[in-house]
């Protein structure tokens, strides 16, 4: 029986073997690498410079978050979910709180929902800015990362003023929001929207029509809509391939029904289209924020829930449109104060499967760009 190795399935078939087999090379892009966005190990099987297949080895950032959930109460587990997608922590909190609210059969009051939407959309812009900066850095443009981080600072300042932390925000609570908006919140958010609009134009000035950028990203990492659907890929990767699917419109949650916004889609499913989709999404987020800030209703910010949370026996799966794709929470309750099982469906984990399809036949220099364009956060992939 032939011994199986992690890369056995990547062995070349007889017809593909070249005359000089010495060109076949297994390359390891090890867990420590300046541009794999965290500790991701990618084993590449190469034919000279062309890639025949890849294998991702993950788990270097596994912290047992789902196991921890089984030993914490629902309220206590709230701060832990921020640490999964640590770049866009607010969405994680939103997904979890809404899932538990479904389990408890309560609804957050409208004012809380408006605050949630504003913060989540700000968080989407922040996540896409970080993505843009690091993606450009991988491709060699070393200045957009600083511009993106500088502009992202303003969002983090708003988060800090609202809930007390910049990155691991713990912004929402089960049943609504803990914090009332601070004095001048609406004004600052609107000021930020006016501030960042020309900045997004600046990023586009630097990159969108730049011939080097276009050559590096057009036609690179192509994946079709059907392949995406087959793999379960969601988010900007799916929308870049032309499929108009966004959970905010397809299965609206919070108060997204009240706002007018568009779903940007691409056509070719390559890196360039995904770049355009994410930049357009930033602009649509600004649109949503402006509408939301204009109409925050008065009222309570917390629903009436018991002090000790004991959801009825049952299970719920609730997913939201996180900046990276569909973030889902499957919570099984056994009637006690601690969940029986919390399973997180991280978008980065599922999207990472698309790496193999996107990278076949491309050159080694494209791998870094393609990993960047999927937009993964290892905290989410490994949990």
């Amino acid at each position: 029986m032939k011994e199986l190795s992690p890369t056995s399935h990547l062995e070349m078939e007889e017809k593909d073997k070249t005359f000089l087999d010495a060109t076949e090379l297994t390359l390891n892009m090890g867990p420590q690498h300046p541009s794999t966005h965290g500790v991701l190990r990618v084993i590449l099987k190469l034919d000279g410079e062309k890639i025949l297949g890849t294998e991702c080895v993950i788990g270097y950032l596994h912290r047992g978050v789902e196991k921890i959930a089984e030993h914490r109460t629902y309220t206590m587990f709230n701060p832990y979910v921020d640490r999964m997608d640590y770049v866009a922590a607010v969405s994680n909190g939103l997904g979890y709180c809404e899932a538990v609210e479904r389990l408890l059969n309560v609804e957050a009051p409208p004012r809380a929902n408006y605050i949630r939407v504003i913060l989540t959309e700000l968080n989407r812009i922040a996540s896409h800015q970080l993505w843009l900066g690091t993606h450009a850095l991988d491709i060699g443009a070393i200045t957009p990362v600083f511009y993106c981080f500088r502009d992202r600072e303003e969002i983090l300042k708003i988060f800090e003023k609202y809930c007390g932390a910049r990155l691991t925000t713990h912004a929402f609570r089960i049943g609504g929001c803990q914090y009332e908006t601070y004095e001048g919140f609406e004004k600052e958010v609107l000021k930020f929207c006016d501030f960042v609009d020309p900045k997004i134009d600046e990023y586009e000035e630097l990159l969108t029509h730049n011939r080097i950028w276009v050559e590096r990203t057009k036609g690179v990492g192509v994946i079709t809509g059907d392949e995406c659907k087959a793999l379960g890929v969601t988010g900007p990767v799916l929308r870049g391939s032309g499929v108009k699917w966004d959970l905010r419109k397809a299965q609206p949650y919070a108060v997204y029904k009240n706002f007018e916004f568009e779903i940007p889609t691409g056509q070719n499913g390559d890196t360039y289209d995904r770049y355009l989709v994410r930049v357009a999404e930033m602009r649509q987020s600004l649109r949503i924020i402006r509408q939301a800030v204009g109409g925050i209703p008065e009222g309570p910010i917390m629903a009436k829930i018991p002090k000790v949370l004991k959801p009825p026996v049952g299970e719920v799966y609730h997913s939201i449109e996180a900046p990276k794709g569909e973030l889902g929470y499957f919570i099984v309750s056994d009637g006690s104060t601690q969940p029986y099982r919390v399973r997180v469906r991280p978008p980065s984990f599922v999207n990472l499967q698309a790496l193999d399809t996107m990278v076949r036949g491309r050159l080694v220099a494209d791998v870094v760009a393609i990993i960047g364009t999927i937009d993964i956060v290892l905290g989410e992939v490994d949990r």
């Binding site: 060699g140 070393i142 950028w213 050559e215 590096r216 220099a365």
Partner: protein, 435 residues
């Protein structure tokens, strides 16, 4: 020897031509010191300018505004452990940085800082420069080979392939500039009649621009400009700088050819890279931008304008001194920064003294040529930094495509067009008169 020292002062040629060994050695030492100083300044300038483009400050702690940072870097590199891979080819490993540095510095023998301010003026000057700078490629291949590791080897092969490809485009652009030296007409459009004699000598090329009263970048617009642009892009690729720096990029898999080098050996590669950058920039300046000629030499001519322009070097240093004093005043009032504030003030005073010295009449007439040449090369250095801050990186196959499929045909077309425009009047006369 004293005779040699004094006799040269009355001659109007370069020391090499005069056969004056003492002055030639003096010039070599001055140029060596100057280039080293330029590399140090370039190190500081790159970090600060790139930082400001990236909305940050760059080095601020090591000396006021990071002015002592290059010295700290140099000391660090000198005292670092010298690591040699155990399986490496020792002789080749030792020789590679030497080859690159020697090739990079030998080029400066013919770089003209003024009509007689060059070590020597070979009559094949530009050919010598291009040839010697190509020897650096040998050093890079040696470095990759000696490291005995396939990543540096691949990196060095790519690096050398890139450099060799872009040398062709560079060469074609250079030929079209050399062709322009043979024209006898003056002004940007006249080719002149009769056969002029072109020259390959560096000083001769600048003299040709002087006699034709036009910088070659404006000659036969847009042909001179296109040749200049071809050279400007090719020289960035030749020196492995952004956006053509894939072979030495950090975020790519294949590390550069200098991966296995540390400490002093690495600093030699670094020195050679910057010296090569300055060398190709001086080629560009000499061939197209009028070398040591002051700007607006024909439009704003006359003794008064000469005096005005001769005040520029001193004024430039006085401006720098002013900037230093302004920043001294702006330094935060913290006991931690006392020494730095003092140092910056002293530096400003030094710059001011140099500026005043350069304003003195006997100095300011003589310093003109050198100043304008160095100023133009400095502009090119800034352009290098600007490109690095702005553009993404080309992938290797795209890089080679640009070199072979874009710049080469363009260079060839510009050359043929320049030749046609150049002999145009003669052809027309022959067609009309016929003899």
């Amino acid at each position: 020897m004293l005779n040699q020292l004094t006799s040269y002062l009355h001659q109007n040629v370069t020391p090499g031509e005069a056969g004056n060994l003492v002055w030639a050695t003096l010039y070599i030492l001055i140029i060596f010191a100057g280039v080293s100083l330029a590399v140090i300044l370039m190190n500081w300038g790159e970090r600060k300018a790139l930082a400001h483009m990236q909305v940050r400050l760059g080095p601020m702690r090591v000396g006021p505004h990071g002015l002592l940072q290059p010295i700290a870097d140099a000391v660090k590199l000198l005292i670092k452990e010298d690591i040699m891979p155990s399986e490496a080819d020792r002789l080749v490993f030792w020789m590679a940085p030497l080859a690159v540095v020697i090739a990079a510095f030998t080029v400066y023998l013919v770089v003209p800082f003024g009509p007689t301010h060059a070590v020597t003026d070979m009559n094949i000057g530009i050919l010598f420069m291009l040839g010697t700078s190509s020897l650096g490629v040998l050093g890079i291949i040696m470095a990759g080979w000696a490291s005995n590791s396939h990543y540096p080897l691949l990196g060095s092969l790519r690096s050398s392939a890139q450099m060799v490809s872009y040398e062709i485009a560079m060469g074609l652009a250079v030929v079209s500039a050399v062709l322009m030296t043979s024209f006898t007409g003056t002004g940007p459009w006249a080719a002149g009649s009769g056969s002029g004699v072109g020259t390959l000598s560096m000083i001769g090329i600048v003299e040709a621009q002087k006699t034709q009263h036009v910088w070659f970048v404006f000659k036969f617009f847009p042909l001179g400009l296109m040749a200049f642009m071809v050279f400007a892009i090719a020289m960035v690729a030749e020196t492995n700088r952004a956006p053509f720096d894939l072979p030495e990029a950090e975020s790519e898999l294949v590390a550069g050819f200098h991966t296995e080098y540390s400490g002093f050996r690495w600093s030699l590669f670094f020195l050679a890279e910057y010296a090569a950058m300055i060398a190709v920039s001086s080629i560009a300046v000499t061939l197209w931008l009028g070398g040591w000629l002051r700007p607006f030499g024909t439009w704003l001519s006359g003794p008064t304008w000469d005096v005005v322009f001769s005040l520029v070097p001193g004024g430039f240093f006085l401006l720098l001194a002013l900037a230093a004093f302004y920043n001294t005043a702006r330094m935060p009032r913290h006991p931690m920064l006392r020494v730095q504030t003092l140092g910056l003030g002293a530096f400003g005073a030094l710059l001011g003294l140099i500026g005043l010295l350069l304003l003195a009449p006997p100095v300011r007439d003589r310093i003109q040529d050198i100043f304008w040449f160095v100023f133009k090369v400095a502009v090119f250095m800034y352009l290098y930094i600007w490109y690095r801050g702005t553009f993404p990186r080309y992938r290797f196959d795209q890089l080679m495509k640009v070199g072979w499929k874009v710049l080469l045909p363009l260079g060839l077309a510009v050359l043929i067009a320049t030749a046609l425009v150049g002999v145009g009047p003669e052809l027309a006369a022959w067609a009309r008169g016929g003899h």
